[in-house]
């Protein structure tokens, strides 16, 4: 084993000693084979859901807690459905988004939930690192999945995006993927970049106004474009990011209207990409801000397929993490 630097720690926290998934906190540091295993496992679950059997008894008797410190409808709902289709029991805790939860309070919450013999926490939190923190302090049998932490990571979203791309396009190597929007504040973009690079995507571009591009973003192995005309050129996949309205208040952008004029995905702009391009969006979409309705509802859009696949990917991650010796005696 190589000595591990502090940056490599997330992976060691996420994996069992024999390299299987324990917690799913970030894409960073996970090996390609593991990401492919998640996609393959999700493929098995995507084939379920036919007319007869949607639900399998795999996680019967397990209790999964959706621990949401930040509002979310789609992510929480798909996690809940995923758990229920695996026959687990689900507890939804929506802890007020306004309350700043301090470390001590968080740990107390954790201890109380553990005392109820729960097996998995699905954590959404406005602070970066919250899921890692919980994973480090949780009881040994408890598994943690990051459902979005601050500006840091949203790994299940990235994996459902990878699943969608693989289903539609096949191999990652020949693809050119453009991620367009608020790269600076986006945990989704960060996780997508790590996943795309790990899976060997030929070309990954980030396209945004200079104020919304992180400094030295190229060190992640991506091309940065401030001009969408070049950024979308010959793209196979376009991933639009949600423009959060609160960003307008700061110095980042002059107005929604101007953003749409410069960066909004219109049919005209779409023509710069390859004819078989697919358009993705993690949702919820802002029509007329980052994407035109004709594109969002058009034939190139796979936005609703992403939602469907999200359930299969979350089933895969949950069953993989809970399948690694949680009943160790």
């Amino acid at each position: 084993m190589k000595p591990q630097s502090p940056v490599a720690r997330p992976a060691s926290l996420q994996l069992t000693p024999d390299g299987r998934l324990r917690h799913f906190l970030s894409i960073e540091g996970l090996p390609r084979a593991l990401l492919e295993q998640i996609l393959d496992t999700a493929e098995s679950f995507a084939n379920l859901g036919g007319p007869a059997v949607k639900k399998v008894p795999l996680l019967r008797g397990k209790t999964i807690v959706n621990l949401f410190f930040e509002a979310s409808t789609r992510t929480r709902t798909t996690f809940e459905l995923a758990a229920k289709r695996l026959s687990a029991d689900v507890l939804n805790l929506n802890i007020g988004a306004a309350a700043t939860v301090k470390g001590e309070t968080l740990l107390d919450t954790l201890r109380n939930l553990e005392a109820m013999h729960t097996d998995m926490f699905v954590v959404r939190h406005a602070d970066s690192g919250a899921a890692h923190f919980i994973a480090r302090h949780a009881a040994p049998h408890v598994r943690v999945i990051n459902a979005g932490d601050g500006r840091h990571a949203h790994p299940t979203q990235a994996m459902l995006d990878m699943f969608t791309i693989r289903r539609v396009k096949g191999a990652f190597e020949p693809l050119c993927v453009a991620i367009v929007g608020d790269i600076l504040h986006s945990r989704v973009a960060r996780s997508q970049i790590h996943a795309l690079k790990t899976l060997g995507t030929g070309c990954v571009r980030v396209v945004a106004p200079r104020t919304l591009l992180p400094a030295e973003v190229e060190t992640l192995g991506v091309e940065a474009h401030v001009d969408p005309e070049t950024g979308l050129e010959e793209a196979d996949v376009i991933i639009m990011l949600r423009l959060q309205r609160e960003r307008m208040k700061g110095a980042f952008l002059p107005s929604e209207h101007e953003y749409f004029q410069r960066f909004g995905l219109t049919e005209e702009r779409l023509r710069r990409a390859r004819p078989d391009v697919i358009v993705m969006h993690p949702g919820p979409i802002n029509r007329g801000v980052e994407i035109d309705s004709r594109v969002a509802d058009g034939p190139r859009s796979v936005i609703l397929r992403q939602v469907t696949y999200g359930i299969a990917v979350r089933m895969a991650v949950m069953s993989m993490a809970l399948g690694t010796g949680t009943d160790a005696s």
């Binding site: 059997v53 993989m320 009943d327």
Partner: protein, 172 residues
Amino acid sequence: MKLEVTDPLTRLHRDLEALLRLRAVSTPLVVGIHTGGAWIAARLHAGLGLEGPLGSLDISFYRDDFSRIGLNPRVRPSQLPLGIDGRHVVLVDDVIHTGRTVRAALNELFDFGRPASVMLAVLIDRGGRELPIQPDAVGARVELPRGSEIKLTGPDPLGLEILSTPNRPESR
């Protein structure tokens, strides 16, 4: 070590035919358990001259050792024709040992509906049952020491291989 597969397959086919005649079942639904069971099921289905679709089950989502050994990374979708209600099902597997696979398959089968009856046909019975489950038609009975494994290779040609793992200590 290799075992011959033609004789057991012939015997299984003959046994099953007699059983179906005895029970007056003319249109059974043959369902194979992935992977080996599905190969045997295809042979039986053709041999019995049955029409209509052949079923297959992947029981990975129904295993009782999931939380110990985790999930098989690529689970094929189970394929059963719609409406197994009231059908006479012949469940087919290559090897029966502890009976746990069959237990899982029965559970999955009943998630699809309520068959009129379920018969169990296996190519090899190697004993060692841990559950009260017995086959109705058997190709061959084989005595194997604990720790060794018998494996069907295929699908074309079919073969049987015995893999012994002598280093594994006898569990009591």
